[in-house]
């Protein structure tokens, strides 16, 4: 299990911090359909987040900004996910 966890975490870090920089920035399926059909989106109440749209507000280096946002997201997801599942699991085992 330890090998799977470490290997999986490493893959996730490389994907979020490095590979994601090269991700397509074209609108995705849903947004493309919405654009084509005149369905208009509103800003989320979280649009002012310093990490909105997977970039760090005020950081001009795109590569660094993207990697930082990805790594912070991974860390928060890991804390929330592992935390939640350990709590839900309880101590019955």
């Amino acid at each position: 299990m330890k090998r799977l966890l470490i290997g999986g975490a490493l893959v996730a870090v490389v994907l979020a911090a490095v590979v994601s920089f090269y991700a397509s920035s074209a609108p995705d399926g849903l947004n493309k359909v919405a654009e084509d059909h005149g369905i208009v989106e509103q800003d989320s109440a979280a649009a002012g987040s310093p990490l909105a749209d997977y970039s760090v507000n005020g950081l001009s280096n795109d590569r660094l900004s993207n990697a930082t946002a990805g790594l912070v997201g991974l860390a928060v997801t890991a804390a929330a996910g592992f935390g939640l599942f350990y709590i839900v699991k309880g101590r019955q085992n």
């Binding site: 994907l15 991700a23 609108p27 995705d28 399926g29 493309k32 002012g48 996910g81 699991k89």
Partner: protein, 233 residues
């Protein structure tokens, strides 16, 4: 740089439908927590956490699917095959909530909608297809292909859930048939990417720890692959 994601933003669907989706999601999440309590143990809880982390990373990777259009992994089917449907719903909900709050990816009003479409529908469809098919599967390679099929089907199913919601509470007067056709078409293409990623990940986890993969429980595939015995002289 803007990463555009497949999450429903605020403004696409009206408030009543958005709130109804929140209510439906809350009910399912409540059941999921109760079910997860008995399904999670010391071996599967870490796999559930890792699955959430992996899906977050994979959703940053938009791949091109057609001219000017991209898609990314939804992950609900993958999570369901790895950790079971109830835990999978919680896994994807964790990811969607982090994305909505921290990255403004998917609306806050629309979070209930996104949980229904991207966590619940994908996990349920992915799980049902995989479990229906797995009884006919003899090899880990076959299980990976089946995982791809289940993942593929989960994507247009999710897109059609959006179309259904749009028929109830869409905010722009557009032809429903046109939206349904466009959503279905592009999400069949995105489903191919979903299938490839899901098949590869399920193959990797099956090669490493087949005993903890929820989708193959109660099948011969759940047994660890026996090491070849050295031939004695």
């Amino acid at each position: 740089m803007q990463t555009v994601a497949m999450h429903v933003p605020d403004g696409f669907l009206n408030i009543p439908v958005s709130l109804a989706a929140y209510a439906a999601a809350a009910v399912v999440l409540g059941v999921a927590v109760v079910k997860a309590r008995s399904e999670l143990d010391d071996r599967t809880a870490p796999l559930a956490g890792l699955t959430a982390v992996f899906i977050f990373a994979a959703q940053m990777l938009n791949f091109p699917v057609a001219a000017g259009t991209s898609g990314h992994l939804l992950g609900g089917a993958l999570a369901a095959i790895l950790v079971g449907p109830w835990v999978a719903i919680l896994v994807v909900t964790v990811v969607l909530t982090v994305q909505a709050l921290l990255f403004a990816d998917g609306g806050l009003t629309a979070l209930g909608i996104n949980i229904v479409n991207m966590a619940i529908v994908t996990a349920v469809v992915g799980w049902l297809v995989f479990r229906l098919g797995v009884r006919f599967i003899k090899t880990p390679k076959g299980a990976a292909v089946l995982a791809g099929v289940a993942a593929f089907l989960s994507v247009p199913a999710s897109a059609m859930a959006f179309v259904a919601e749009y028929s109830l509470g869409g905010t722009a007067p557009v032809s429903l048939a046109a939206v349904a056709t466009a959503m279905g078409g592009v999400h069949i293409l995105i489903g191919i990417g979903e299938a490839v990623i899901t098949g590869l990940v399920v193959a990797a986890v099956l090669a490493s720890r087949p005993d903890i993969v929820a989708g193959v429980q109660d099948t011969p595939l759940a047994r660890p692959v026996p090491k070849p015995q050295p031939v004695s002289a």
